[in-house]
C-alpha cells in the first residue's frame, strides 16, 4: 500500500505495524505529530498498546525501561531538549540491554530556542551503545523503524535502537510511502526474547557491580554491538525480499566508483548532495556521494573501502563543531586513519539550526574545499 505520509506519520505507521505493547512519550516540536497519530491509532483500535502520557521525557524512557524489563515491546519518540532531558535513562536502557525502539526527530539545541533540524542532539548518544540509524526520507523512516525492532530484539544483540530524521524537511513533508503488507513476516515474533525480570524466576537488574564485574558487563555489550551489522544486514535482506528496497550495507553510494571526491552526509541534505553530484558530473567533475544509514556501529571498513584512493572527502555535518571536528567527520577520519589512507578531509558545518542547504551550496562547498586545507569550516551560505 502506498500512502502520502510525512516522516513522522511514516514512523507512526511503522510502529502501528510493529504492534508494541507500551508506548510512552512526551510532546516536543517537531516530534509531536508522531505521538498524536499513535494516540489516534490507539483510540481507533488499530493499535492495541498502552499509552503512558508521562510528565517528562526522563519518565518516558524510564517507563519503557520498566515495561521492557518485564518483556513488553515498546516505543517512544523525542527530539532535541527532550533527548537531553532523558539522557541519563537513554544510557540506562543500553546498559540494561533492553530492546527499546525510539524515534528521534533531530532539532537544534538551545539557547536560543530553535525548532529546526540540527544533528547535535543525535550525536550526543553516539557512545551509548544504542544502534543508531538515520533516515533521509519518510520511506526510510518507515523501513528503518521496522528494521530497528528486528535488530534490537535479536538474541545476538538485545540493545536499544533509534531511528533519526530531520525536523520538517522529513518530519513534516508528505511524500509517497510504500508500506509492508505483512510486517510480521519481517519482525521477530512477540515475546521471542526472555525479559530479565519475572516473578517466577527472580533476578535483580543493576545491583552494584565491583570493577571486574562491571567491566565484564561492558565487554559483553561490546560484543553485542559488534554483531549488529550482521543482524542489520539480515533484517535488511528480509525487507529487500519483501519490497526490493536495500539497506543492507548500512550506507548508500552514489557514483562513487570513479570519483575523486566523495561527499558524505546523513539525512535530508543528502538529496541536495545527490543533485550536486549530478550537476558537477554534468560539468565533468568526478564526484560521488555516500549516505550513512547505520551510524552506530559505524561502518569503518565499508567507508574506508569507498574512500580509499580518493583525493578528497567532504563531510557535510548538520551540526556545529566545537573544539573538535564534528562527529561524522571524526568517524570518517578514524576510518581513514585505521586503514592508513591519506585522503584530504574537509568538513562543513552546514544547515545548522535549520539553515536551508541547496544544491548550489553543495557545489560551492566543493569549490571552497578545493582551495582550503583539511579541517572544519562553518558554512554561512553563499
Amino acid at each position: 500500500m502506498k500512502l502520502l505520509l510525512t516522516g513522522n506519520y511514516a514512523a507512526a505507521y511503522a510502529v502501528r505495524d510493529a504492534q508494541p505493547d507500551v508506548i510512552s512519550a512526551y510532546p516536543i516540536t517537531p516530534q509531536t505529530p508522531i505521538i498524536e497519530k499513535l494516540a489516534e491509532f490507539i483510540d481507533s483500535g488499530e493499535l492495541k498498546a498502552k499509552f503512558v502520557r508521562v510528565e517528562s521525557e526522563h519518565s518516558a524512557m524510564a517507563a519503557l525501561i520498566g515495561a521492557a524489563s518485564v518483556g513488553a515491546r515498546t516505543y517512544t519518540a523525542t527530539s532535541s531538549q527532550g533527548l537531553l532531558y532523558m539522557y541519563e535513562v537513554v544510557w540506562w536502557a543500553a546498559g540494561a540491554r533492553l530492546p527499546i525502539v525510539m524515534g528521534l526527530v533531530t532539532r537544534a539545541l538551545g539557547p536560543p530556542w530553535n525548532i529546526w533540524s540540527d544533528h547535535a542532539d543525535f550525536f550526543t548518544v553516539r557512545s551509548s551503545g544504542w544502534t543508531m540509524l538515520f533516515a533521509s526520507s519518510a520511506q526510510e523512516v518507515y523501513d528503518l523503524t521496522l528494521i530497528a525492532y528486528c535488530v534490537a530484539e535479536h538474541r545476538d544483540v538485545l540493545l536499544p535502537a533509534l531511528v533519526a530524521w530531520d525536523a520538517f524537511e522529513v518530519s513534516h513533508t508528505y511524500e509517497p510511502v510504500e508500506l509492508v503488507e505483512d510486517a510480521t513476516r519481517l519482525l521477530p515474533p512477540k515475546g521471542a526474547w526472555a525479559p530479565p525480570l519475572a516473578a517466577e524466576d527472580p533476578a535483580s537488574l543493576g545491583n552494584l557491580a565491583y570493577p571486574e564485574e562491571y567491566a565484564e558487563t561492558r565487554r559483553l555489550m561490546v560484543e553485542a554491538v559488534r554483531r549488529v551489522p550482521l543482524v542489520f544486514a539480515e533484517a535488511a535482506g528480509r525487507l529487500r525480499e519483501l519490497t526490493g528496497r536495500d539497506y543492507s550495507r548500512g550506507y548508500e553510494c552514489y557514483r562513487c566508483e570513479d570519483a575523486e571526491t566523495v561527499f558524505i552526509a546523513m539525512g535530508s541534505v543528502y538529496g541536495e548532495v545527490r543533485s550536486a553530484v549530478d550537476a558537477l558530473r554534468a560539468r565533468g567533475v568526478p564526484v560521488g556521494a555516500l549516505k550513512v544509514w547505520l551510524y552506530r556501529p559505524f561502518p569503518y571498513e565499508g567507508v574506508a573501502r569507498v574512500l580509499d584512493g580518493k583525493k578528497m572527502a567532504i563531510v557535510l555535518s548538520r551540526t556545529t563543531s566545537l573544539g573538535a571536528m564534528g562527529p561524522l567527520a571524526t568517524d570518517v577520519a578514524t576510518a581513514l586513519a585505521l586503514k592508513g589512507c591519506s585522503v584530504k578531509l574537509v568538513e562543513f558545518s552546514a544547515g545548522v539550526g535549520g539553515v536551508d542547504v541547496t544544491e548550489d551550496d553543495v557545489v560551492a562547498m566543493y569549490k571552497a574545499a578545493l582551495e582550503r586545507e583539511g579541517g572544519t569550516y562553518f558554512w554561512r551560505g553563499r
Partner: protein
C-alpha cells in the same frame, strides 16, 4: 536535477493550506507523479500568514530544500498581499490563483497572469467552516488543480475522498465548484 512542478500555497493559520497541498499531492500521486506536500516550517500562530508547498515530478524527488517560488502561487487570502512579498513567490513563467472576485491590485503583470475564484463565496454557500473560519482551501484545490493543467476534475475528487473524512460531500462540491468557477481575472 529533475525539473519539478511547484505550487506555493499562501494563507492564514487555520485556512487549510496544508490540506490543500496534501490533496493536490494525492491527486498527483495517483497519476504516477512523485509528489511532495510540504507545510511551512515555522512557529507561527493562528491568524499569521502561513505557507504550504507542493513539489511534483515524474521521477523521484530527492531534494528536501525549501521551495522558494511556485509555478502556481495559490493565494487563499488576498489581504495578505500587503503583508507578504507575493511577487517573489511566483516563478517567472508562473501564475497566480487567488481567492477573490476580481484581480488583486498591485499584482498586475505577474508571471503568465492571474486566475480568480471566489472561494469564500463557495465555502459560505456550502457552509464549510471549522472553528468559525471558512474553509476556502477546498475550492482552491479545484481551481489550482485545473489551472495547473496536470489533472482532471476526477483526479481531484478521488484525492479528496482519500484524504478527507469530515463533511466529505460538501468538500467534494467545493472542489468541483472551484474547478468550475476559476477563470482568468478580469482586471
Amino acid at each position: 536535477m529533475p525539473e519539478t512542478f511547484d505550487v506555493v500555497w499562501l494563507g492564514r493559520g487555520g485556512q487549510g493550506g496544508v490540506t490543500a497541498a496534501l490533496i493536490l499531492a494525492q491527486a498527483a500521486m495517483s497519476k504516477g507523479y512523485y509528489a511532495l506536500a510540504i507545510p511551512f516550517f515555522g512557529a507561527e500562530r493562528r491568524g499569521a500568514p502561513v505557507f504550504a508547498y507542493n513539489r511534483l515530478s515524474k521521477s523521484t524527488i530527492y531534494s528536501r530544500a525549501r521551495v522558494r517560488a511556485g509555478d502556481v502561487l495559490a493565494l487563499l487570502d488576498p489581504s495578505l498581499t500587503g503583508v507578504v512579498d507575493v511577487r517573489s513567490l511566483v516563478k517567472p513563467g508562473g501564475v497566480l490563483v487567488v481567492n477573490s472576485r476580481g484581480s488583486v491590485p498591485g499584482l498586475e503583470g505577474l508571471g503568465r497572469g492571474q486566475y480568480c475564484v471566489d472561494a469564500l463565496e463557495i465555502a459560505e454557500e456550502l457552509d464549510l467552516k471549522v472553528a468559525g473560519i471558512p474553509l476556502v482551501n477546498m475550492p482552491m484545490v479545484g481551481a489550482v488543480g485545473r489551472v495547473s493543467g496536470l489533472f482532471e476534475l476526477h483526479d481531484l475528487l478521488e484525492a479528496t475522498k482519500a484524504q478527507i473524512k469530515a463533511m466529505l460531500e460538501s468538500n467534494l462540491r467545493a472542489v468541483e465548484e472551484g474547478w468550475r468557477r476559476v477563470e482568468k481575472c478580469r482586471c
